[in-house]
Symmetry: C2
Subunit: 422 residues, 2 copies
Amino acid sequence: MKNKTNEIKKWIAKNKGKAIVLLRRLVQEKSVQGNESSAQAVVIEACRGMGLEIDIWEPNGKKLKEHENFVSTREYFSDSPNVVAVWRGTGGGHSIILNGHIDVVPEGEINQWDCDPYEGKIENGKIYGRGTTDMKGGNVAMLLAIDALQSVGIKLKGDVIFQSVIEEESGGAGTLAAILRGYKANAALIPEPTNLKIFPKQQGSMWFRLKVKGKSAHGGTRYEGVSALEKSLIVIDKIQKLERIRNERVKDPLYANIPIPLPINLGKIEGGSWPSSVPDLITLEGRIGVGPEESLPLVKQEMEDTLNSLQNEDEWFLNHPVDLQWYGAQWLPGAIRVDHPFVELIKKNYKLVTKEEARIEASPWGTDGGLFTQVANIPTVVFGPGTTEVAHHPNEYILIENLLTSAEIFALTLLDWCEVEE
Amino acid sequence: MKNKTNEIKKWIAKNKGKAIVLLRRLVQEKSVQGNESSAQAVVIEACRGMGLEIDIWEPNGKKLKEHENFVSTREYFSDSPNVVAVWRGTGGGHSIILNGHIDVVPEGEINQWDCDPYEGKIENGKIYGRGTTDMKGGNVAMLLAIDALQSVGIKLKGDVIFQSVIEEESGGAGTLAAILRGYKANAALIPEPTNLKIFPKQQGSMWFRLKVKGKSAHGGTRYEGVSALEKSLIVIDKIQKLERIRNERVKDPLYANIPIPLPINLGKIEGGSWPSSVPDLITLEGRIGVGPEESLPLVKQEMEDTLNSLQNEDEWFLNHPVDLQWYGAQWLPGAIRVDHPFVELIKKNYKLVTKEEARIEASPWGTDGGLFTQVANIPTVVFGPGTTEVAHHPNEYILIENLLTSAEIFALTLLDWCEVEE
């Protein structure tokens, strides 16, 4: 086995160019929501080349759309296929799902980029472009791991189920569809951009909208009105207090180094129609982080109770309660034990490959891991080569070295987890 | 003279119907900005009927547009004529300008109206519609006063210069154009809706825009960014303090009953682009009240100094100062002495007609009075029959009784001020 390990390392180092070519081809297909099919075609081609069993389908159907965890900004997924490619094992061993999303967020302000976001520029050991880090680089690392194992002549006992899914950036309908299609395994790995940290726990999140009411008046006699903006200051203060209370409860050592484990982010504000009128409505939109072991309904209830308590501090809210809506995207949190055998395996192989101790943390954002752990009951770890800080940012990049490192760790983990047919 | 006073009272009472017909005709012409000509045609017809010398022109020219107090949302006034109609005096006596604007603000949300805003519904002694109170009712009262004096056979020594101007709601370019055209008088009266209170002083105002900067980040790691919304809370607090400081300085007894004599109204807020991103820019728009005896540049300076002082409280503002813009509309404040003979005359006639003491206050909003007092050096009083509370509101109305009362007071004031040719 020692020999095989060395062979894998060498093969991956030698095939760096192959990985780069594949990642650049994927980046060059601008797979924003609704436009994923050409990138999936590249994935399909790569999987065919490795002789995997391929399943391609456009998510649809009542079961999906009526599922309590179905969240999307759209209802139909025509031309937005999911792809699953199975490397069938010889039998026995553990099966594994390797899951990565093919969708990317839009490039944003193009003039904030120093390069074409869809070219795949290579410079100083980095590949630049939208999706390099989040998370086509992780997907390529998984495919490279399978390729490496096959190339050095290994046969695994357990099935390896590679999933290239749509919709992660919009709430996970692609992974939910794969679960509902019946794909199961003894563990799942999602190589989201974690800077090679291991996340056995992932924060969930929900979006909310608050409507704060006031009473209009001419600005010159503003005392005759009630400013929805002034009332919003009270609401914002209350939300900030709720964030403090929620975070004081977090005792999980995985969050020890995180300044605010479960942030409540107020991301948008809008209100008022005229500089010299008292604004009578302010709309706030935000995101609340949901702890890995929290339940979405209880977090919703806590927010609702908090807003209801405003009426004890300011009578205005008695007859003009803040309107709370849960809208848009939602990500289920996910958690498995830190000493779960699957986590231990990745830790071990991380050390083997990098000669350093693995860093175990909890993710500060939602992933499809919540769907696997909570809906499909599959122990899931999020661990990948991308650079956390540049995800969703201009000049997104991935370090080629990290991509190769993760591919090697993935390959060794497959060896251990699925077991080798001697 | 006592006889003439009684005759005027009787004539006005008898011609109530004529006043109502004229006001309804004016209301039925929807004279929002850019659409004033058909309402002006009604004015012209009324003035022709009384044999006044009529001057009709579309404001234009460099002198107007380069004037330091020129403020408008547009540069050209084609099809938006000013109308001035002069009742020439026999010589001697004081001249007077009777100034009213013909433009109205838009009706706003139509479903908040219980009637057609441009029909002129009459009910319970009120005429409803956009512009009834602000300020076509006041304009009709002035014309009725002239009509009454002529009808009872009075000839005045001083000129009566009736002005029906455009653009008051957008900063006063119509009145400024009349001033630049050379119209002068020993006093000016503007019957804006004051609930029959006498305003020898008028508040000015300016609009401002603040841009508060932050640093974007993912909401899940919001501690890596700087929320422009959180920084805006500090800015809003500072603006509120500035309002307190400015109002503590106000000692004028005219403001004794006003909760906030010089309000700073924050009327609009907008910022952030995504619920789960830290907002990196918040824009606030507002209006600052300018005291009757304050200067616009000094008030601007005070606001600028206040915002600059933020950097002493929060280092962030040192490298990310709040961007302050003065934009859009501006109204010069205006003030004359409370014991000015013209004010005393109106007070006296108010008591004569209503048997009650006049109420003297300062206006909480800008009018064209600032232009007359500051640019043309004409002592100006704002005093009119409209209902302050419903100006710019749905279901705007005027009390017919107040319209007639003001017409009588106007007529008696013309008698006194311009003097009668015996």
